[in-house]
Amino acid sequence: MFQKSLSILVMAVAVGASFAPWLQAQTPSPANHAVAIQSFAFGPVRVEIKAGDSVQWTNKDFAPHTATADDEGWSSSELKNGASDSIVFKTAGSFAYHCKYHPQMKGVIVVRD
């Protein structure tokens, strides 16, 4: 594995590429970002992640909530008190979302490449 990486590195340097693409190829496994739902609010309201990362919502209220894209392209399940659900974001973009039961609850996930 190390041998192979080293040879790729040598090649990359040899063709004049910067280190950056090689380093990016080695980025660690996708991260999971926690969002708490408490007192009828998403916290943090805005989360910035990398493509491939996931966001996990956990409901700390009694009232059931959801995290549902404003364009309805994705949604968590109905989250009862104490329940969690995760969604993986594969494509870059800014995704505004809300709770479908309490639409005044709003958040945004910003996904970067």
Partner: protein
């Protein structure tokens, strides 16, 4: 002063004066728990009437929200009482709440169409305003058990959201 307003409002809207006066004598934690549970059930009953009667999508969505959220709050109350190994105690205040609701149910059941929608919306706003004042100004400051207090604080967040929502519904139906 606030307590006086709460008493006046609650008396007008929900209860006989004598029922509320006795209630103000001071409920213990288990009586508060029973009253909170009863207040929740009452709003679920109102919502069930609304679901059977309304044709207005906004009113229907609100009634569904009341059933979903108040059921969840009562599940939370049940879990806490089980954990504390105590039973809620029926009391004059919860009886007065139920008596007021029985009258209101009869009134709502006698209405149809827009008249029903308006009466339901107005009652939801008034009911949440009244209950929220009692929870916020009388129960939360007076309960002894910290977990019961935390429960009421969390329930109040939910009920305040409902109060706002009911206010929007009342305006939309004008």
């Amino acid at each position: 002063m606030n307590t006086f307003k709460t008493i006046a409002l609650a008396t007008t809207l929900l209860l006989s004066a004598s029922g509320f006066a006795r209630a103000q004598a001071g409920l213990n934690d288990l009586e508060v728990a029973h009253s909170a549970y009863t207040a929740d059930l009452i709003d679920i009953e109102y919502a069930k009437i609304a679901l059977a009667k309304t044709k207005n999508p906004e009113v229907k969505a609100f009634a569904e929200l009341m059933i979903r959220d108040h059921t969840a709050v009562n599940e939370g109350a049940g879990a806490l009482l089980a954990k504390l190994k105590v039973k809620p105690q029926e009391n004059d205040f919860s009886k007065a709440l139920q008596a007021g609701a029985t009258k209101k149910n009869a009134e709502l059941n006698g209405l149809t169409g827009e008249a029903f929608d308006k009466a339901y919306a107005a009652n939801e706003l008034a009911y949440h305003q009244t209950v929220n004042k009692i929870v916020g100004q009388t129960w939360i400051p007076n309960v002894k058990n910290p977990e019961v207090k935390a429960f009421l604080e969390q329930a109040l967040v939910t009920f305040k959201v409902h109060e706002d929502h009911a206010g929007h519904m009342v305006s939309a139906l004008k």
